[in-house]
């Protein structure tokens, strides 16, 4: 198993209170596997992504858990050791390429620097940089361009090229296409898919479940800091267990089927004071309908159970109570 | 009420500049209390001459007495009234003139803007003190005229700052949205742009007050402000200065320290607020 995350919890210590951004998240990613974390803004998915590469911004702190990457617990490494891994074995692509690229330097130079920083000789790096630009479909004459001379899609490709400089085993992509138009988004997704096929595992974050379902091998659904469901894409799409997963799937249109669209009522909770018991229960239509669930869903947090092989859910409808 | 709690929280937040801010506020508060409660705090009548001339600081006269036997401490306490009232009057006047002009100039642009900018830049180019002196001389010495003179100097400061902010704010989406609703220009300026100037105006206010204190002290030092026997720090400084070499240090020391302290206090508040605001944008 390439990456195993166990019981990860991350809190933000802000002036207005402790935000329990991520609570007890457990999952794994295998070689050549594409796992997508999907959820609304504030669900904690980006925080999990930043934790894997240990770039959680202050006032955030990883309070507990293990991140086992190729057998080593990343949380126990020193910053120096972690720096050896960042950019080489694990790398990351962000949502806004305009801020993650230096606007004052040519893209070719930035690509070269990503490699020389890890000790690669400059000429070799230049060669490799040209190869990488080709790999991401940027014409080689753009080597000397500045970021503002490229389109949004091209800038994102450059970011991906930088991330792929050392053929990392794991590529973390945090909403890389959210700021892009739909045709460009499709081509970037094609590119990431080709990287996966060549051997890189992908940890993808998005709020768009259609995007998640279309390309991933596995999907992890996050709500209010908790992992509520995890499984293969077929399991999640064809047999969604958690009421939130079902609501999420119903809330988006599909151009190719006549699926009706139903909005999810309410808003995600304030994580300084999350609801008691299951964090989703105030918006859960099943909780609202079934009186017998009172005293359970609003009192006790459901545990994650394996419903069928590889398909996990944290919901009282399927057990998950400590008393069972 | 609803403003006080977040305001106090804002002030006490453990952020850089908290020390500066609290020190500045403490000093200003002290001077304000001095000014308001002068009749109670000052032990003697500051204008009354006594036979006890040139007395060094002692228990009877904590800051000593001057050439006319007047208690320096009482003069300091009563002097705070003059300083504060002149400076605040001047600053208020600057704001009343400078802010609306800056708004109009920034909002409409074009010829009005060019004309006003040229006028304001010309005024701004003069060293503050010299300009104030010229006006004070023309108008004649009195606290009100001093206030007018000083206000003249600082109008361009407010004008420039408000104009600059207006220029950037008027391109914001919420201003466009206000236009889309059909709001008239005056409404857009007053209801949408002006409230968003708040923090920056506050910072400029404190810094210009700091400067104005020094300018007022300068003017009164030159005898262009109050007339004797009204107590005023700058005036006392001037009167006491010739006696410094004779060893009567307290005549110069206390007024000088008060001027410096008060100006510095406002400047510190301004700096601290500035840091807070740039840190805490949204």
């Amino acid at each position: 198993m390439l990456l195993e995350v166990k019981d990860l919890s991350i809190y933000y210590y802000t002036l207005s209170g402790v935000v329990k951004a991520v609570e007890g998240v457990t999952f794994s990613i295998d070689e050549k596997e594409w796992v997508t974390f999907v959820g609304e803004s504030g669900s904690g998915k980006s925080t999990v992504a930043s934790a894997i590469i240990r770039l959680v911004p202050p006032p955030g702190k990883i309070v507990s858990g293990q991140i086992m990457f190729e057998g080593k617990d990343l949380l126990k490494l020193s910053e120096e050791e972690m720096r050896q891994i960042r950019g080489k074995d694990i790398s990351m692509v962000f949502q806004d390429p305009m801020t993650s690229l230096d606007p004052l330097r040519k893209i070719g130079d930035q690509l070269v620097e990503a490699m020389t920083v890890h000790g690669v000789d400059e000429d070799e790096a230049k060669e490799r940089a040209k190869e990488l630009l080709e790999k991401v479909n940027i014409p080689p004459d753009r080597f000397d361009y500045y970021p503002h001379q490229l389109s949004g899609g091209q800038r994102q490709r450059v970011s991906i090229a930088i991330a792929m400089a050392f053929n990392p085993k794991l590529l973390i992509a945090d909403e890389p296409t959210t700021a892009l138009d739909v045709i460009v988004q499709d081509s970037i997704m094609d590119l990431i898919q080709s990287l996966k096929e060549e051997g890189t595992s992908i940890f993808f974050v998005t709020h768009d479940i259609s995007l998640a379902a279309e390309r991933s091998d596995k999907i992890a659904v996050m709500y209010a800091g908790k992992l509520v469901e995890f499984g293969t894409v077929e399991q999640i799409v064809e047999n969604p267990l958690h009421p939130y997963t079902q609501a999420l799937l119903n809330s988006v249109p599909d151009l190719w089927t006549e699926k009706p669209v139903k909005a999810i009522p309410g808003y995600p909770p304030d994580l300084r004071n999350p609801p008691r018991g299951c964090r989703f229960h105030p918006r859960c239509h099943i909780f609202a309908e079934k009186g017998e669930l009172k005293g359970l869903c609003d009192a006790e947090e459901p545990m994650m159970i394996e419903y069928e092989k590889g398909h996990f859910v944290a919901c009282h409808l399927y057990g998950g109570s400590r008393n069972e | 009420m609803e403003v006080i709690r977040p305001m106090t929280k804002f002030l006490l937040e453990k952020k850089p500049g908290r020390g500066m801010l609290l020190f500045g506020i403490a000093v200003v508060l002290m001077v304000v209390i001095m000014a308001i409660f002068a009749p109670i705090i000052a032990p003697y009548d500051p204008t009354k001459s006594t036979k006890d001339v040139f007395a060094p600081p002692s228990l009877k006269h904590p800051m000593g007495t001057n050439r006319l036997g007047q208690d320096v401490f009482s003069r300091i306490v009563w002097g705070s009234r003059v300083v504060l009232s002149v400076v605040f009057m001047a600053t208020l006047l600057s704001m009343i003139i400078g802010i609306p002009l800056g708004l109009i100039s920034g909002y409409y642009g074009g010829k009005i803007d060019r004309l006003l900018s040229i006028i304001m830049d010309s005024i701004y180019a003069f060293p503050a003190l010299i300009l104030a002196i010229v006006i004070a001389v023309v108008l004649g010495p009195s606290p009100v005229n001093t206030a007018i003179a000083i206000s003249f100097v600082y109008v361009p400061t407010y004008f420039r700052m408000v104009r600059g902010q207006t220029l950037s704010l008027k391109n914001q989406l919420f201003v466009e949205a206000a236009h889309a609703i059909g709001a008239k220009d005056r409404e857009v300026m007053v209801k949408y742009i002006l409230p968003n100037l708040g923090p920056t105006v506050l910072v400029v206010f404190t810094l210009s007050v700091a400067d104005a204190i020094l300018t007022e002290a300068g003017l009164s030092f030159l005898g262009l402000s109050v007339t004797p026997p009204t107590p005023d720090w700058g005036y006392d400084l001037r009167v006491g200065q010739p006696f410094l070499l004779d060893g009567y240090w307290w005549l110069v020391f206390f007024p000088g320290v008060m001027i410096m302290l008060l100006a510095m206090a406002f400047a510190l508040i301004g700096e601290a607020l500035n840091e807070r605001i740039s840190l805490g944008v949204r």
Binding site: H207, S251, P253 | F174, G182
Partner: protein, 328 residues
């Protein structure tokens, strides 16, 4: 009611490109970014037209120009039979009440220092439709209507206290309080989570029914068009390349670009088919390609496409396309 509420005729908006010193001295002709280059359409009362296109196609400029937030370079805008293209600001003011706009960025469209309740009430005061007390009452009612309850609490809050979805509801409330007949929604849900969009669109739909309101819904996401639009118009580099009833355009797209847009939308069911491959990116609007502007990226391009600009032709009932080789 056969007369459409809004008629746009050959609307153009050109932005001059600032010339450098040398160019000015050489008296080189001024070049323009032809953001909107002659678009025409009609919207009936109560109808929703989705204007679809990628960044740089001119759709946002078109929306703002129709509302005269930007001055048109050429063409006519006819609202309820009145030509509003050249009206002065004073003459335009009564029309402002009847046509509103909802912007993309819910945070930037609200003044950070105005209580959201006051922001919602303000349009009423601007048009003298209510005094301060009444306006506040109506604003509270509107807060309840858009789902921001308890409304007295929300009235007093400032934008930074709210989430993106909540802020967009405030923006909608502010636009709807005047009971407009026509609203331009400029990427109104693009900055909101996908799962929250349906709720916001439902809200807009409920207003449409209540006021029999027409909408011009500008978006780059054709799937949103499917949810709310009666008709779809596809824009590319300043021109409308296809326009027709929603179902018709989505099921039988006639223009290759429309087909490309449809194919690119992710599908949960993974049931989509890729019938067409287009290449490259949207070119610079200052230098549009000759002939059909889409030809450099089109797999079906011929010599005719490179030299002659296609006109809109009807391919089926009320379904028009500007292409020399439409897909049907």
């Amino acid at each position: 009611m056969s007369e459409p509420l809004l008629k746009v005729e050959n609307l153009k908006k050109y932005f001059p490109i600032k010339r450098g010193i040398i160019e000015t001295l050489r008296r080189a002709p001024v070049r323009y970014v032809k953001a909107v280059d002659g678009i025409s359409f009609e919207i009936k009362r109560g109808e929703v037209l989705a204007l679809i296109g990628e960044s740089g196609c001119g759709k946002t400029t078109a929306g703002r120009t129709i509302l005269r937030l930007i001055e048109p370079t050429d063409g006519r805008i006819i609202f309820d039979g009145v030509d509003i293209t050249k009206l002065s600001r004073e003459e335009l003011r009564p029309f402002r009440r009847r046509m509103q706009i909802i912007f993309q960025d819910p945070y930037a469209s609200l003044s950070p220092r105005m209580k959201i309740g006051d922001a919602i009430a303000h349009p009423l005061l601007v048009h003298g439709l209510a005094d301060k007390e009444e306006a506040k009452e109506l604003a509270l009612k509107m807060l309840r209507r858009v789902g921001l309850t308890p409304e007295d609490e929300f009235y007093e809050r400032y934008p930074h206290h709210l989430s993106g979805g909540q802020r967009q509801r405030v923006v909608i409330a502010r636009a709807m309080i005047l009971k407009p007949e026509f609203v331009v929604a400029d990427e109104a849900v693009s900055m909101i989570d996908v799962s929250m969009r349906a709720a916001i669109l439902d809200l807009l739909e409920s207003f449409r029914k209540e006021y029999n309101m027409s909408q011009l819904f500008i978006t780059h996401d054709i799937a949103v068009g499917k949810l709310i639009a009666d008709r779809i118009a596809v824009m590319y580099l300043g021109k409308i390349v296809e326009i027709g009833p929603t179902d018709e355009v989505l099921k039988n797209p006639a223009h290759p670009y429309t087909m490309a847009l449809i194919q690119a939308v992710p599908s949960i069911a993974r049931k989509k088919e890729r019938k067409i491959e287009i290449t490259g990116e949207v070119p610079n609007a200052a230098n549009p390609p000759s002939g059909c502007r889409f030809h450099p990226r089109c797999p079906l391009a011929t010599e005719e496409c490179k030299s002659k600009e296609p006109e809109l032709i009807e391919v089926s009932h009320e379904h028009f396309v500007a292409c020399h080789h439409p897909l049907r």
